[in-house]
């Protein structure tokens, strides 16, 4: 087991370096290597999930430097789950990309591997500054991915995305160094101990740094009012990239959960549960604004991007309830929402390609060549994302509501979540019926199309290819599996929530850790 913990970092890193050297060689080789490596990553993630499921906190001291001085990787149930969700999403995105959307150039696969390195690192690290470094790794890969391919819209959205994230990085550094200045530690577990015994005179400064961290993570997670960069960026990215980006907001949610249960958790003395009073209203506002955006969207990809915002809002509201049942429901919902948003982005690209000049604009248009097939897939995905029975979205929302109870403020969650499901239903029936039922005229032959979108790099061939369908159907099958195996998944997320709410075990594991003897 001991070295398995570093595999989720080494595997994408080595693959990415190899792919860069292979650049210019056979595209087939690059695609195969990239997909095989990601499939291995899925296997590693499953193995780590089983390791983490024993309820222990597993540590890996890089370079055998002892915590709290060295950097440690920490594997618990939460990080293992996030690794698996990422790896599965990445695998299907790459399968989709390998059928033509990865041109022009052959750098997309290398960049995706670098992104995986950053995301996995952010999930595994137990050190706050190291978290910053992995954030930068995943951000610079995401900049390159967002701009991959060409087009004025991508340059515009990319510029906003890069600038806002650079500003976010500056805030992150201020927060981290202020926390270091107060506690003298960067290790999260050690910092939690120091924060609990904080001199009351230092508490306001530590609280400032803590809230600043919330701003930074909120920027990554796209919570209101920091989500405005998201819809345009996601909608202008190429399909596999947009699908992969569905995990990026969840990285933000993960760091929020990690930081505010561990460092500023229940036992943090005067700073206990620092973020909770903020998270509850912000989560609900994000949910409401995301819904309005989805209702008002004129393009399918913008609509899906707003659904990502909705899922973030729902998750945060669940996290803010801060009970075991609510956290368990939230993480069940996280698995579901990440995969379904990924699948929807891929599907949107298939739909867009068959509509000629109209692209993904939600207006009456020509019939699609594969109307029945895409329509059925869209219907299944829509049912799932709306939260209608029998798919996993329904289970997630039901659990969240039952965890919220009917006391006090919880009523707002009921109102927003139920009205939200209705609004999502309306939004998606509008786009779905416009695309598939209000079609008239002949199927467009995309050969003579003059649409810049259809002619740009990620258009590919108009007809959906087997590999692309495999990716979409694969993700939907994963959703089915989460639905069918709901009790197993829920047992796991329940245990995960238990582990999260008792950070003492995490801190204890860090203290008991001993270096490996010998050379």
């Amino acid at each position: 087991m001991s070295h398995l913990l570093i595999a989720p970092l080494l595997l994408p890193l080595l693959t990415a370096v190899l792919l860069i050297f292979l650049s210019g060689r056979s595209l087939l080789l690059i695609r195969c290597l990239s997909i095989i490596s990601t499939a291995l990553l899925v296997a590693v993630a499953i193995a780590l999930l089983q390791v983490a499921n024993d309820g222990q906190i597993h540590l890996y001291a890089l370079g055998n430097w002892m915590p709290p001085f060295g950097i440690v990787l920490v594997l618990d149930r939460l990080s293992a789950l996030m690794l698996l969700v990422t790896a599965v999403l990445a695998l299907f995105s790459l399968v989709y990309a390998a059928r033509g959307t990865d041109g022009p150039g052959d750098k997309l696969h290398a960049m995706v591997q670098f992104l995986l390195l950053g995301v996995n690192g952010a999930f595994l690290t137990g050190d706050l500054f190291n978290l910053f470094v992995f954030f930068e790794v995943l951000l610079i890969a995401s900049y390159a991915l967002l701009l991959h391919g060409r087009g004025a819209e991508r340059a515009r959205a990319g510029l906003h995305y890069v600038v806002i994230n650079l500003a976010g990085s500056a805030l992150f550094l201020i927060a981290v160094s202020a926390l270091y200045g107060i506690t003298g530690s960067l290790n999260m577990a050690d910092m939690a101990v120091k924060i609990a015994q904080l001199d009351p005179a230092d508490a306001p400064l530590a609280a400032t740094a803590g809230v600043l961290l919330l701003v930074v993570f909120g920027l990554k997670a796209a919570i209101a009012p920091l989500y405005f960069w998201l819809p345009r960026a996601y909608a202008s990215a190429s399909a596999p990239v947009a699908a992969l980006f569905a995990i990026m907001t969840k990285v933000g949610v993960y760091t929020i959960v990690r930081t505010y249960t561990l460092i500023f958790g229940d036992s943090a003395g005067p700073l206990a549960n620092l973020a909770l009073p903020w998270l509850w209203p912000l989560g609900l506002i994000t949910l409401a604004l995301g819904l309005l955006g989805a209702l008002a969207a004129r393009e399918l990809r913008i609509q899906i991007a707003y659904l990502v915002v909705v899922s973030v809002g729902t998750l945060l509201a669940g996290v803010a309830l801060n009970t075991e049942a609510a956290l368990a429901a939230s993480f069940y919902y996280l698995i579901h929402s990440t995969w379904i948003c990924g699948a929807l982005f891929l599907l949107a690209n298939l739909i867009q390609r068959q509509r000629g000049d109209l692209g993904d604009r939600i207006t009456k248009g020509p019939r699609m060549a594969q109307s029945a097939l895409l329509g059925s897939l869209f219907f299944i995905a829509a049912v799932s994302v709306i939260g209608l029975p029998p798919l996993s979205g329904f289970i997630g929302k039901l659990l969240l509501l039952s965890a919220a109870g009917t006391q006090g403020n919880a009523i707002w969650l009921w109102v927003l979540l139920l009205a939200g499901s209705l609004a999502t239903l309306m939004a998606l029936s509008r786009s779905g019926s416009t695309f598939f039922w209000r079609a008239e005229g002949d199927v467009v032959s995309t050969q003579d199309s003059t649409n810049p979108v259809a002619n740009s790099s990620d258009a590919g061939k108009p007809l959906a290819q087997k590999g692309e369908l495999l990716a979409v159907i694969g993700l939907l099958l994963c959703i089915f599996m989460v639905t069918l195996g709901a009790s197993t998944v829920l047992d796991y997320t329940q245990a995960l929530a238990q582990q999260l709410l008792s950070p003492e075990a995490y801190i204890q594991a860090m203290h008991k850790f001993t270096a490996i003897e010998g050379n």
Binding site: F129, L147, A152, L159, V163, A167, A170, S177, G181, S457
Partner: protein
């Protein structure tokens, strides 16, 4: 010295924020650069200001005498932050140039301002530039 450093950080950050809010890409990049200077200085100061104190502890020193040493960790952190900030600024410059070429102007929203003639994109990008 603390007051002076705090003042310098404050000036750098406020100039950075001001420039960051400008409408053209070049001032925005300069603003981010100034902001990162301010942040780097802040990280450095978080190790406390001490003059003439070595950062490397000798082997025989007792715990109490380590109080006379400078904290080496913020220096390592600031080095990391400088490297990352430098790389990001370089990337952002290239991106701003590309946006200028593709959108035809250097406004952050890619739209020409009032009273300005929209310019055609400079030239289509070559395949290998992507």
């Amino acid at each position: 010295m603390e007051a002076l450093i705090a003042l310098v950080i404050g000036v750098l950050v406020s100039c950075g924020v001001y420039l960051l809010l400008r409408a053209r890409t070049f001032p925005v990049i300069l603003g981010l650069t100034l902001l990162s200077y301010g942040v780097n200085l802040f990280i450095f100061v978080m190790g406390r200001l001490r003059t003439g104190a070595p950062a490397v502890v000798n082997k025989g020193d007792s715990l109490s005498s380590t109080l006379n040493y400078a904290d080496p960790l913020p220096q390592a952190l600031v080095l990391t932050a400088i490297v990352i900030g430098f790389a990001m600024t370089a990337f952002l410059l290239v991106l701003a140039l590309r946006a200028r070429a593709e959108l035809g102007n250097d406004h952050v929203d890619g739209t020409a301002g009032l009273g300005e003639k929209p310019v055609k994109p400079v030239r289509p990008l070559e395949e290998d530039e992507v």
